[in-house]
């Protein structure tokens, strides 16, 4: 029977029952005599059991069954309400919650057995000795300290950041009045130096003066112990009885101890319960849309910060500028944090490729060794979602067209097994993904011929175009249809699509190929898509933003120093020839008359290996900009990567150096 249609219903109802269990258990602990609440708990557990059994979740059924048994004992009065029992019952509820969360995958829950045996142990203990366990462990300050999972995590984290943990036993003089005030002062004094992790008895008992003459505090601090104990002894009638340093072996022992206690005879799955619970406590699943909204808000914040900066500068308000500087640091931190939250290791995409490669290689009778490097490299979530398909394309092309059959390889004197390498790594503010094969490479002459036949360039052009320019043609839509590509031993099934996807992510793609030796395709993607550093330049009264990542340097020049070489304007920069491009011409900016001896500015940008100087009127300044798209209507305008809104509210266009010329 297909139960999947009932899954959502089950999940929703189970959640309700769990919430009610949680709530009522706490109620019952506070008021053990309340039979009505107990019945309610019993009913919830019973319903849950029935539902889980119907849905076929055996482990949930098993656990709820055990809970039910213990609850039955409670009901019959053979078991009494003790904190220990409730600890276990509440942990059962937590576990159930986790199990129901994973219910879809219905994976094994190895930590169940220990929990169940613990539950059984307690029930048995209680049932055998019904009247002994009923005493409330109110005066439990003599009990050894126990840490829960969360506390151990905190202690470990503290230790890792050079904090020392202490277990301080504090005594009050006999017959002290207002004990709670002493406690409060102890806490207050301690908190000046560090953080209190735990106290025994619990804070509530301390506050209500339900303790003897002493209590214990676990405390982390970087302050020397003498200072701490002095600070405590300052308080009248307070005495430090002992101050023990704790380190991870203490908590590890503690952990082991706790586990040993948890482990009932017959079960030996040691580490899973605690680590599992620890992890679920520390992560949160967030809808990607919420992160996008957060990102947008941070973007707006940055725009407003820049606006404030401008106001501060215009009016020269020193105080404001200082405050803004502070805020600037905060927004930068916030921004990088949000960025980091959105980062996902590329392994999510890469992990599906070994299978793809294996299947394709088998299908085409090729012998391929697949290597993945740098799969831990992190990329923005949006990029991850988009990059999969282009990579599949490239890998498929490499296996289909690039890599030869084993026989052909042996004939060509290559190793029989071809190597296909997929690598990701960081380079500056970019992430580089490479797909490299040692196949037959692309035949440039054939591509050239093909391009001429298809009319991408004339025969004459074909003669003097260099290899790089010829290679570009394979990214042209319509250059290749599958059969043609196989003919010319190149690749190109949908390479135009690959290119446009990469470009829509503000990335670039390059091909490096050697006939008979292989092909390397290098994709370069920005780390983040949303906010970049840019240089604002003014051209004929218009403002443009140039991403800092493509700028090498800036310099200035007098119009008289511009020379020409074969009709191309150039300048000499430290003795080297730098071709110049007037941004006015490139961007068809309406001409503004300029004085002949007025200084011009040159922004030296990089395009691949080439360096080019962009001549502009003025450098306005460097700032963070939030990238916005121009919308579907205007996508693909060469040279324009998008737009940004400046602090003034004005829209300024972002130049895309790669496609500008």
């Amino acid at each position: 029977m297909d139960l999947s249609q009932y899954m959502d219903l089950f999940l929703a109802e189970a959640k309700e029952h769990l919430e009610s269990l949680d709530e009522n258990l706490l109620k019952l602990e506070g008021n053990p005599e309340d039979g009505e609440v107990l019945n309610e708990i019993f009913r919830s557990a019973h319903t849950l059991k029935g539902m889980a059994a119907t849905m076929g979740f055996e482990q949930i059924t098993e656990l709820t069954h055990e809970m039910e048994s213990s609850l039955a004992l409670l009901k019959e009065g053979r078991l009494h309400v003790t904190p220990e029992l409730f600890d276990v019952l509440l942990r059962c509820v937590d576990t159930l919650d986790a199990m129901i969360q994973d219910a879809k995958s219905n994976g094994e829950q190895p930590y169940l057995s220990s929990l169940i045996s613990e539950l059984r142990g307690i029930s048995k203990l209680g049932a055998n000795a019904p009247d002994l366990s009923s005493s409330q462990p109110e005066q439990s300050s003599s009990k050894p300290l126990e840490f829960n999972e969360h506390e151990i995590l905190v202690l470990k984290a503290a230790e890792n950041s050079q904090y020392q943990a202490y277990c301080i036993k504090i005594g009050l003089a006999p017959n002290t009045v207002m004990k709670s005030v002493r406690v409060f002062m102890v806490f207050q004094n301690l908190e000046e130096y560090g953080q209190i992790i735990k106290c025994q008895p619990p804070v509530q008992d301390l506050e209500e003066e339900r303790f003897g003459d002493s209590f214990e505090v676990v405390f982390v601090s970087q302050t020397p112990r003498e200072t701490i104990s002095k600070a405590l002894e300052k308080i009248a009638e307070v005495q430090v009885l002992s101050m023990q340093e704790l380190n991870s072996t203490n908590f590890d022992n503690q952990k082991a101890f706790q586990q040993a206690k948890t482990e009932a005879p017959g079960s030996n799955q040691a580490s899973s319960p605690t680590s599992r619970v620890g992890r679920t406590l520390r992560t949160v699943r967030v809808d990607i849309e919420r992160l996008d909204n957060l990102m947008n808000l941070v973007g707006e914040l940055v725009i407003n910060k820049i606006r404030l900066e401008q106001i501060g500068q215009t009016h020269r308000i020193t105080d404001l500028l200082e405050a803004i500087e502070q805020m600037g640091r905060l927004t930068t931190d916030l921004q990088s944090l949000v960025m980091k939250v959105r980062m996902v290791p590329i392994e999510q995409v890469f992990n599906r490729f070994p299978r793809t490669v294996r299947d394709l290689a088998r299908e085409m009778g090729k012998d391929v060794q697949f290597m993945i490097e740098g799969k831990e490299t992190e990329l923005d979530r949006t990029v991850i979602d988009e990059i999969g398909d282009p990579l599949v394309h490239l890998i498929r092309n490499a296996i289909d067209h690039g890599i030869e059959c084993p026989e052909e390889r042996v004939e060509a004197g290559k190793a029989k097994t071809a190597t296909l390498r997929l690598a990701a790594y960081h380079e500056g503010n970019n992430v580089i993904i490479e797909v490299e094969d040692d196949g037959r490479g692309m035949d440039l002459d054939k591509i050239r011929t093909r391009a001429i036949n298809k009319g991408f360039f004339t025969e004459k052009e074909g003669e003097y175009l260099d290899d790089a320019a010829v290679l570009k043609v394979i990214f042209q839509p319509g250059f290749s249809t599958a059969d043609v590509v196989t003919d010319i031993s190149g690749r190109g099934v949908g390479l135009d699509v690959v290119k446009s996807t990469i470009e829509s992510l503000n990335g670039s793609i390059e091909i490096d190929t050697k006939k008979k030796a292989g092909t390397k395709i290098k994709i370069s993607l920005p780390l983040t898509l949303a906010i970049i550093q840019a240089l604002l330049v003014s051209v004929g009264g218009e403002l443009y933003a140039i991403p800092l990542s493509s700028i090498d340097e800036t310099t200035s020049i007098l119009p008289g120093q511009i020379k020409t070489m074969q009709n191309q304007e150039i300048m000499l920069l430290r003795g080297a020839v730098l071709p110049l491009v007037r941004l006015h011409h490139l961007l068809e900016v309406p001409p503004v008359t300029s004085e002949e001896n007025e200084e011009l500015y040159v922004v030296v940008v990089r395009k691949g290996e080439r360096r080019i100087g962009l001549v502009v009127d003025l450098l306005v300044g460097q700032q963070e900009i939030v990238i916005k798209t121009l919308g579907k209507l205007l996508t693909g305008i060469p040279g324009i990567a998008g737009a940004t809104i400046l602090g003034s509210g004005e829209v300024s266009l972002i130049l895309d150096i790669n496609s500008l010329f």
Binding site: E542, G631, L633, I637, P638, I640, G649, E650, V651
Partner: protein, 155 residues
């Protein structure tokens, strides 16, 4: 203004605006809002009829010069010049019009298909509506935005 009558199925509501001396209508469901003229940033290399982009409360929206798109000569800005923000197929675009006149309902039966009129170059028209002796040219936003056929001014 809407004429208070019941909205029958065969009636459409139009935003009516003037461009040059002509009156145009656009299905109200495609109109998102109407704005005064905002500062426009020119976009180089964009099709000629795209005047640029505006900042619409944090979103960057392209605006089209309807004069140039419809071949009606130069535009002069006045106090009444408006940007009609339209939305179709997920694309937002602002249309610069000389004046927004009214919103009215029109019976489908009074709309003639453009081909019947014998006027050439009617690709961006959905039809021609007649109301009290006025002629309303109903714009077809989808073909209006299909810029490829309109001009290839991109170098």
């Amino acid at each position: 203004m809407p004429d208070g009558q019941m909205n029958f199925k065969d009636e459409i509501q139009l935003v009516v605006f003037s461009v040059g001396k002509e009156e145009y209508g656009l299905d109200i469901s495609q109109v998102q809002e109407i704005n005064r003229l905002l500062p426009i940033t020119r976009v180089p290399r964009a099709p000629a009829c795209i005047e640029g982009v505006i900042n619409l409360r944090g979103d960057v929206v392209p605006v089209m010069n309807l004069h140039s798109r419809l071949g009606l000569g130069m535009r002069t800005d006045t106090d009444r010049t408006r940007i009609v923000i339209t939305q179709v197929q997920g694309i937002s675009v602002g249309l610069i019009v000389d004046e927004v006149l009214e919103v009215l309902s029109l019976r489908s039966s009074t709309i003639e298909p453009p081909a019947m009129t014998g006027i050439s170059n009617t690709g961006y028209l959905q039809g021609i509506g007649k109301i009290e002796g006025r002629l309303l040219l109903l714009l077809d936003l989808v073909s209006l935005l299909d810029l490829k056929e309109s001009d290839e001014t991109v170098a």
